[in-house]
């Protein structure tokens, strides 16, 4: 290795930094559009998993508002509000945050719920995923009135929703979060869809 002075060390360090930064930014610019496309495609697919494409004619992934830390995607059919898809996060799971997507029609009835992301125990709490079990489909067609009843809880809490063997905390967290979202939608419906006034 060559002899060194502090100055030559600094110059070399700077040169290397410039080369590496140049390479990284080149790759960044080459992949930028593709990455944005991927993100958009993934969002669209997750929205379509809770709300069938046939129900609306706008692009909900681009018609979004943020209200009280929730991201809300709005779906319209011929400019009439049809449904809202609300993305929310609960911290009440067994480990880490559970992120979910809830679609509600304008009467506040749940269309469907999906889990976007979670870190629950594999084999126990992860049955909230549609890939692992059909449990999450149990929220379909539940009305606002049902959410306000005492049975809106897991069986352990004298409710009507199944819990999983060995995992009560996870389904409890999801059940409570869905109810919270249902009530939230009812409360802020006119802010989400001002046309309904």
């Amino acid at each position: 290795m060559p002899t060194s002075t502090p100055l030559s060390a600094a110059v070399r360090l700077a040169c290397f930094s410039f080369i590496i930064i140049g390479l990284v930014s080149f790759v960044f610019h080459q992949t930028k559009n593709k990455i944005i496309d991927n993100e958009r495609e993934a969002l669209l697919q997750s929205l379509q998993s809770v709300l069938p494409k046939t129900l609306y004619d706008n692009i909900p992934s681009e018609d979004l508002i943020t209200l009280k830390n929730h991201t809300i995607y709005r779906a319209y059919q011929k400019d009439t509000p049809v449904a809202a898809i609300i993305k929310s996060t609960t911290t009440q799971g067994y480990s880490g945050n559970i992120q979910l997507l809830t679609a509600l029609d304008i009467t506040g009835t749940i269309l469907d719920v999906r889990i976007l992301d979670h870190k629950e125990t594999p084999g126990l709490g992860d049955k909230i995923e549609l890939k692992k079990s059909n449990w999450i489909l149990g929220f379909q067609h539940k009305t606002l009135a049902e959410m306000q009843q005492a049975q809106w809880a897991v069986k352990r809490d004298q409710g009507s929703f199944d819990q999983f063997t060995g995992a009560t905390i996870t389904p409890r967290a999801v059940v409570n979060e869905v109810k919270k979202i249902g009530l939230f939608f009812q409360q802020y419906k006119l802010q989400i869809f001002p046309q309904l006034k």
Partner: protein, 208 residues
């Protein structure tokens, strides 16, 4: 060192996962399925080849005093580029591996090879060393992934489409029908135990 010795070292004698015990964090965390393992193995191997190559080419201009920051710079740059490329072209896989792609930076095996091999050897042997070390690490990852996937779910090659595209959708093989699953194998503790057994196996084969 001859090319054959370099290969032998990377794959077996000085295997980074089984002998040097480097890079255990991603090894233990990601090896829950064969496909995840394979993906992380490929990304790590690519990083090793690229960083070894760059460092070997630049070895005459790298001063001893600043070699560590330069290694870190080169490795971090390489990993960032690989992360961007995966984000763009293997999106689902990128989502599955998540934080463990950027964390390849912290895999000590990579800076270890830069310090021990690439900064002292010519370009071609350094590339080969990166390849051999990467393959050695990957094969341990894949074996661990396979064992854990079978024990935890009774299947093999699930979600192969993440890595190989849509025509790989039916690659999943059910090894045990109607298997209730061994939770331990899916958890990090299970990978510790499986890795321990693998190391024991390797040692008994080497000493035999």
């Amino acid at each position: 060192m001859t090319y054959q010795q370099i290969l032998e070292n990377g794959l077996w004698k000085n295997n980074q996962a089984l002998v040097a015990l480097l890079g255990l964090c991603p090894l233990l965390a990601v090896s829950n399925t064969v496909i995840n393992s394979l993906a992380l193995g490929i990304a790590t191997t690519l990083t090793l080849i690229l960083s070894n190559g760059c460092i070997s080419l630049a070895r005459k201009t790298i001063l001893p005093e600043i070699r560590l920051p330069l290694f870190v710079l080169i490795i971090a740059g390489t990993v960032t580029m690989i992360e961007l490329l995966m984000h763009a072209y293997f999106y689902q896989l990128y989502k599955t591996l998540g934080i463990f792609i950027p964390l390849i930076v912290t895999n000590c095996a990579i800076i270890g090879r830069a310090e021990v091999f690439a900064s002292k050897n010519k370009f071609i042997p350094s590339l080969l060393d990166g390849l051999a070390m990467g393959l050695g690490f990957s094969f341990v990852l894949v074996i661990l992934g396979g064992v854990r996937e079978i024990l935890s779910s009774g299947r093999l090659f699930s979600q192969a489409e993440l890595l190989f595209g849509n025509y790989a959708k039916n690659w999943q093989t059910i090894i045990v029908d109607d298997y209730s699953g061994l939770l331990l194998a899916a958890l990090p503790a299970g990978s510790f135990i499986a890795l321990g057994l693998l190391i024991a196996l390797k040692n008994s084969l080497s000493n035999a």
